[in-house]
């Protein structure tokens, strides 16, 4: 079960995600991110209990897409157990690269 609460402020939208994010429901969060038009979108994971590799891949894919639009996807308040798994796959290294490197075009 995945729940997404949307908080809109000036220039920024925060999606507070609760429950479990996996292969069966990543489309729900992906569509919610794609629906946003703010230059800055925060995905707050403080109430997330589980995320599988599909969730991690989708978030990085969305981070890349927003970056290509000169927008920012922030992923915050990651619970320790999920952060540990993300660390292993190199998730944070990729986010650093996205923030530091010029956007990639065409791929």
């Amino acid at each position: 079960m995945l729940q997404i609460r949307v908080n809109k402020e000036r220039g920024k939208t925060t999606l507070v995600v609760a429950g479990e994010l996996d292969y069966s429901n990543i489309a729900q969060l992906q569509e919610e991110i794609e629906r946003q038009e703010a230059p800055r979108v925060e995905v707050n994971l403080k109430d997330l209990q589980f995320m599988d590799s599909s969730g991690a891949g989708m978030l990085l894919h969305q981070a890349r897409l927003l970056r290509s639009q000169n927008r920012i996807l922030e992923i915050t308040h990651i619970p320790a157990n999920i952060s540990h798994d993300l660390e292993i796959i190199g998730f944070f290294r990729v986010l650093e690269t996205l923030q530091g490197a010029p956007q990639r075009g065409g791929e």
């Binding site: 292969y23 069966s24 590799s53 599909s54 990085l60 292993i88 796959i89 190199g90 990729v94």
Partner: protein, 233 residues
Amino acid sequence: MSLDTGDRGRRIIHAGIQGAGCSIPADLEGGDFFAFIPRGEDGLIVAIGDVMGKGMRAAGQRKDLCTVLYSCTGKDLSLLEIVNQLAATAGKRLYRAGSFATLGLISYERQHNCITCLSAGHPSPVIFSGQNIYMPRVRGVALGFLDEYQGTGPEQFILSRGDVVVMYTDGLIEARNAGGQHYGLNRLTGIVAANAGLDAGDLQDVILRDLFTFTGCKQQRDDVTLVILKRDQ
């Protein structure tokens, strides 16, 4: 009596190493894989990996990755060169598909009894040497995330007779019981340490039985893959 894992299991004895591997998909087909790839008479490469997602799409990407892996290991390349070639070819295709794959690689040379470990986003192997448990600190970005492989260099370890190496995918330690608890790395290392005297195949059977006991054979939502290597006594 051996646990019947059908066509999902494979065993090998090569270069003084016993190998036992098994991959149980959560769906009809999965993204997990493992491979034992002999290199001459005295060498062995072992790979374990996990392609994002499940089902036919993940299975297709897994097959593509394995084809490139076998092609690379047929050349006389180091583990780092292999993972760089994988990143440049299969990794690029994963990137374009919005997917990624983790990969753990081990090579063993009988001449020096030395294993070399490298990881592209995959959990570290666990080495059981006598009473000691050792986890190489190999880290790297999964294939498909970046243009090229980035991570720590390979790490080496000398295997003594009877030492055991365990490789696994996250689906194993994240397998759940009816109460929602995870199988966990502690339970895995505990059962391996208590049964490290067994042959690789028997040890794998013991672990899988313990896993099925824990989960009550409840359908898992991620593929489960386990590989055991043991240096002959």
